[in-house]
């Protein structure tokens, strides 16, 4: 777009070579704060189906882009002063479901190695889709989320309480659990995966299998699989010196 190539006064214009063009493109990526070009995405069949995280992030993108356009517009609660939002879907899921001794739980593990060092976490959410439960009709459910701080093989793992949400067994939609408190551990153990464990109980304290409560895990359709989303505020990065 824009006007054609301009001949700056005094210096002859010449075409950049292929290698120089690649260097210039790398500079543009660096100014935009983008990494080098990653591997191409999953095969078209898989990437054609809308996935939960990209759908959610696209909504955030439109919200952030409208913030960019209207200067001074009140930023959205979540977006606030975030410079960087990362979503994580690549996870391992483990169940202690029916047939095992109580309490039942569902555990999710996320690979956090992509989190750039030095970014301050301002908020982090675990999002899981819930459909109406056909087994617990009108009861009230308490969903609690813990971080698995240390797995112990001869006894219960060390857990760190993160959030509690109460909802009706018949409710449907995205359940958002606040896991911001877990981010302190990320920064300490950067290389470590994030382990999250989810319990469901009825009003009278009975443990319920999360699947029976209507909470969808990795087996759900792509657009309803659980994911983590994390909001960062960039540390005041110094002005870039052009290379």
């Amino acid at each position: 777009g824009g006007p054609g190539p301009r001949l700056p006064p005094g210096c002859p214009q010449r075409r950049l070579g292929a290698r120089e063009r690649r260097d210039v493109q790398r500079e543009i990526l660096a100014v935009l704060g983008l990494p080098g070009r990653p591997r191409p995405r999953a095969p078209p069949a898989a990437s054609r189906l809308p996935a939960s995280a990209p759908l959610f992030m696209l909504d955030l993108y439109h919200a952030m882009a409208s913030d960019d356009d209207e200067d001074g517009a009140p930023p959205e609660r979540r977006l606030g002063r975030a410079d960087l939002v990362m979503s994580f879907v690549n996870m391992v899921e483990r169940d202690r479901a029916l047939g095992h001794q109580e309490p039942h739980w569902k555990e999710f593990h996320f690979d956090l190695t992509q989190i750039p060092a030095g970014e301050a976490v301002t908020a982090a959410e675990f999002r899981i889709y819930k459909v109406p439960s056909t087994h617990l009709l009108n009861s009230t459910l308490h969903v609690t989320m813990f971080q698995v701080v240390q797995e112990q093989f001869n006894r219960e793992s060390d857990l760190f309480f993160l959030d509690l949400q109460t909802l009706g067994a018949g409710a449907e939609g995205w359940l958002v659990l606040d896991i911001t408190a877990a981010s302190d551990h990320w920064l300490l153990k950067h290389h470590k995966d994030l382990g999250l464990r989810l319990y469901v109980e009825t009003e009278d304290g009975h443990s319920v299998d999360p699947g029976l409560a209507g909470l969808l895990g990795q087996q759900a359709p792509r657009s309803r699989q659980p994911f983590v989303v994390t909001f960062f505020r960039a540390s005041q990065n110094p002005v870039r010196t052009p290379r």
Binding site: G2, P54, L58, Y61, M64, D68, D83, L84
Partner: protein
């Protein structure tokens, strides 16, 4: 003696009208020597042309704009200028070899946001400040 009350003089501001609008079709956008006066020009950075749309989800590119044009005295009616730039333009008239003109640069910038896949196929949204020129002026 009781001094007659003086009507409060409206505070004189010696700033130019902070009018950061772009020159309208009736504004004289050509300086004294037919040179364009300092203003914002269209510049579109296309991720499509750069071949990055296989991993940048949105946008396809963005309007960055750029500033170009003369900062000659008297400054045009549509231009922003700091007081210092006005002073420098005046001294440049007296000593053109010793003091350069003020230069045309952004006076207001805004951010742009990019949504992309990282190498683990996670979806990332990044906001980069000071990537879009909103207004130009003389500095």
């Amino acid at each position: 003696a009781v001094r007659p009350l003086r009507r409060r003089q409206p505070k004189k501001t010696n700033e130019l009208p902070q009018d950061s609008r772009l020159p309208g079709i009736f504004d004289d956008v050509h300086g004294s020597h037919g040179q364009q006066v300092c203003r914002r020009h269209e510049l579109y950075v296309s991720f499509q042309d750069l071949g990055w749309l296989d991993w940048i989800i949105a946008p396809q590119g963005y309007s960055a704009y750029y500033c170009e044009g003369e900062c000659s005295f008297p400054l045009g009616s549509c231009m922003n200028a700091t007081n210092h730039a006005i002073l420098q333009s005046l001294v440049h008239l007296m000593k053109p070899d010793a003091v350069p003109k003020a230069c045309c640069a952004p006076t207001k910038l805004s951010a742009t946001s990019v949504l992309y896949y990282d190498s683990s196929n996670n979806v990332i949204l990044r906001k980069k400040r000071n990537m879009v020129v909103k207004a130009c002026g003389c500095h």
